[in-house]
Symmetry: C2
C-alpha cells in the first residue's frame, strides 16, 4: 500500500477509505439498533466524494457554513441543517438555497433571531424552518430546556410566518468526559434536554417533529434515545487522537494522516526534522489536556504502522520536530533525510482543513484524489 | 471606512493597506540605515498583490514552500530563497523553477543533503545554489557556526557540481524575548553566528557571498549588521498580537483582522457568541505564554477601534465566544445579534492562511480583493 504514496509531494493528506467505511458502518449499526436517523455533520469531510459515502444511509446532512450548504445542495443533498446560530444578514442566502429545492433548516436561540427569521419568511412569502437550540451542558449556545423563551420563540416563528421544525442540542462538553459511565451520562443529559424542551413545546400546543442530538462521543455511548428523532456526528468518519484519548476509538481506527518527509536532524537534542509544520498539521493541541499528550501527532511509517514512542513535539510554519514522547522507553530510530512518514492528527476537522484534497488509499488498493473545499 | 464592510459575508479577512504600507516603510528605513538588503518572507502574505508592495524595494524574496516559489516566480520574482531544509525528492522541482529563469536557492545542514544537491546538479548539468543553515539559538535546524561539517558541506557542494551561495540563520527563539536589551542581544547573537561561519568558510578557501539573517523581532532591534548581506522577515508586513506582546508594535499597527457577526448571547455567563471560530481565527494561541493572554484575539468595532477589555476566549469550529479579559474592569457592552465586529489575530500567518483572500481597505478609501493561495 505504502508503495503508491512514495511519489507524492509532501506534505500531503492521506485518507484510508477502508478505515473510513468501517467507521461509518460502526455508527450506522449503532443508530439502527437505537432506532434513530443519522444526520452526519459534513464539516469534517468538506468533500462531495466523501459525503456520498457518509450519507449513503442517512436521512439528511448537517453543515457548519452556508458555503457547505451551497456545495452539498448543488451536489444533490436535499435535506440540510445549518447548525450554527443564524445571523439575520444570512437569511437571504438561506432563502436562495431553499429556492433551489434544498430543505435547509436554520438554528436559533433568541427572540431577535426568531423575529428576523419570521420577517424574512413573510417578505419572501416562504416559511423558513427553524430549530430552537437547547443548551444541555453549558458548552456553547442554546436556552435551558425549561426557559420560557423556548415557547416565546416558537410563538414568534409560527405566528410570524416562519416554521417551527423542532429542537436541537450538542453535548460539546462530552469531549472532556472520560470513561464509559461518564460518556453514557453525557448522552443521557443530551437526550433529556431536548426531550424536556420538546414536551414543553407540545404542552404549549406546538408540534415539534424534529428532536436532534449529537456529538461523536455521545453518539457512540448513548444507551437509549427514546424521544429523539435524529443524531448528528462528524468526526467519527475519520476519528483522531482526541477521540482515541476519550476512549471512542483506537489508533488503528484513525483514517486520516499527513504524509511527510524527513529533512534533517539535531542529534544532540534527539530531534528528527520533517516538512510538516503547523500549516500541514494545524495548530490544534486537543490532546494537551488529555491523559496522553500526543504533541502535534503520532508518528507512523509510510505504511501507517505506529512507531513506538514517537510524536511531533514542536511545529513551526513548515517545520516539524519528531522526538520521543517524554517518559517513553523507546529508542530514537535512525531515519535518513528523505524518509517518508505519516502523522496521525489530533483533530481531524482541523488538520483536513489545511489541505485542498485527500489522496485516498481506496478499498481496491489504488490511489484516488478527492477535492475538499473551504470558505464561508 | 467601516461602512464599506457592512455588506461583506462573515467571517471575512480584512487588510488595512495604509497600515501595511506603514509597516513596510518602517522596516525599509531601518534596513537602509543598517546598510543591508531586504529579502522579505512571503509565507505571511501568500498573495501576488501583497507581494508587489512588500518587494518594491527588496532585492529578493524568501518562501517556505515550493508552491510559493512557483507562484511568485510565475509572477516575475527572479530571486527566491526556499528557507526550509531541502528534501532530496524536491530537487527536480527546484531545477524546474530555476530552468524558467528564477534564481531559486536551497537551504541545507547535512552531508546527505549536500550530496543529493551535488548529484542532482551534476545530473542536470546545472549548479544548484545552496545556503548552509547555521543554528544561532537552539530553535530549530542548522549546524553550530564552528561545526567542522560546515566546511565539509561546502566542499561536497563545490567539488560535486553544486554552488555554495553562503550561510543563513533564523533567531526563532527571539519570539520568547522580552524587553529591548534582550531583543538587541538576540539580534547580535543571530549576526554573530553567521558571521563566524562565513569567516571559517573564508579561512577554508570558500567564497561566501550571502550572509543571511532574519526574524521580525531581531529585524526591528538589530543595532549593527556588519558582515551581514541580507535580512529576512515576514510577519512585520501585517504585525499581530504576538508581536505586540513582544513589544515590536502597538495594536494600531496590526493591519489584519477578521470581520465577524454576533449570532447570540449567554447572558449569565457574560458571553457574546460570534460566527468566527477557530476555522476563521486559527487555533494559534501564541499569546498564551505572554504577559497578556489575548485568548483567540482582541475585539474591535467594525471601524477597527479596540473595544476595552474584550477578547475571544473560546472557539469551536465556527463559533467564537467574546468575553471580558479576566481581571478587566470593563463592562460587557450591549451587542445585539447582527452586530459586526473585527478581531485582531494572535498570529497573522496562521489566521490569514484560513482564508482564500483579503478584503482590502485601500489607501484611497475603497475596497479591493486580493486573492491568496496555499498548498505545497
Amino acid at each position: 500500500m505504502g508503495a503508491s504514496l512514495e511519489n507524492l509531494a509532501t506534505p500531503s493528506l492521506i485518507l484510508d477509505e477502508t478505515i473510513m467505511l468501517r467507521n461509518i458502518e460502526r455508527l450506522e449499526r449503532r443508530l439502527a439498533a437505537l432506532g434513530v436517523s443519522a444526520r452526519p455533520h459534513l464539516k469534517t469531510v468538506k468533500s462531495v466524494d466523501a459525503a456520498r459515502r457518509v450519507l449513503r444511509n442517512a436521512k439528511g446532512a448537517t453543515v457548519s457554513t452556508l458555503r457547505e450548504a451551497e456545495v452539498f445542495a448543488e451536489a444533490g443533498v436535499t435535506d440540510i441543517l445549518y447548525a450554527v446560530g443564524i445571523a439575520p444578514q444570512k437569511l437571504p442566502r438561506v432563502l436562495a438555497i431553499r429556492a433551489k429545492g434544498c430543505d435547509l433548516v436554520v438554528v436559533l436561540d433568541s427572540l431577535d433571531q426568531a423575529r428576523a427569521t419570521a420577517e424574512a419568511s413573510r417578505k419572501a412569502g416562504h416559511a423558513i424552518p427553524a430549530l430552537i437550540e437547547i443548551d444541555c451542558d453549558g458548552h456553547r449556545s442554546g436556552l435551558a430546556p425549561d426557559d420560557p423563551k423556548v415557547v416565546e420563540i416558537a410563538r414568534i416563528l409560527v405566528d410570524g410566518g416562519a416554521e417551527l421544525r423542532g429542537v436541537v442540542t450538542h453535548a460539546g462538553e462530552s469531549y472532556g468526559a472520560r470513561g464509559e459511565a461518564s460518556l453514557i451520562a453525557f448522552a443521557e443529559r443530551e437526550r433529556d434536554a431536548v426531550v424536556v424542551a420538546a414536551a414543553l413545546l407540545g404542552d404549549a400546543g406546538f408540534a415539534c417533529p424534529v428532536v436532534s442530538v449529537g456529538s461523536t462521543p455521545t453518539a457512540h455511548f448513548a444507551r437509549n434515545l427514546i424521544g429523539v428523532t435524529e443524531l448528528r456526528a462528524g468526526v467519527y468518519v475519520f476519528f483522531d487522537l482526541v477521540q482515541t484519548g476519550i476512549g471512542i476509538c483506537g489508533l488503528e481506527d484513525i483514517a486520516l494522516s499527513v504524509l511527510t518527509t524527513v529533512i534533517g536532524h539535531q542529534h544532540e537534542r534527539g530531534w528528527i526534522m520533517i516538512d510538516a509544520g503547523w500549516m500541514a498539521l494545524s495548530r490544534d493541541r486537543g490532546t494537551a489536556s488529555q491523559t496522553i499528550d500526543q504533541g502535534y501527532g503520532v508518528v507512523c511509517d509510510i505504511d501507517g504502522q505506529v512507531l513506538d514512542g514517537l510524536i511531533v513535539t514542536i511545529t513551526n510554519q513548515e517545520h516539524g520536530v519528531i522526538a520521543l514522547r517524554p517518559g517513553s522507553g523507546a529508542k530514537l530510530p535512525d531515519m535518513p533525510v528523505g524518509t517518508m512518514l505519516r502523522i496521525l492528527p489530533n483533530h481531524a476537522c482541523a488538520t483536513a482543513a489545511q489541505f485542498d484534497g485527500y489522496h485516498v488509499l481506496t478499498t481496491s488498493g489504488g490511489l484516488d484524489y478527492w477535492t475538499r473545499f473551504r470558505g464561508w
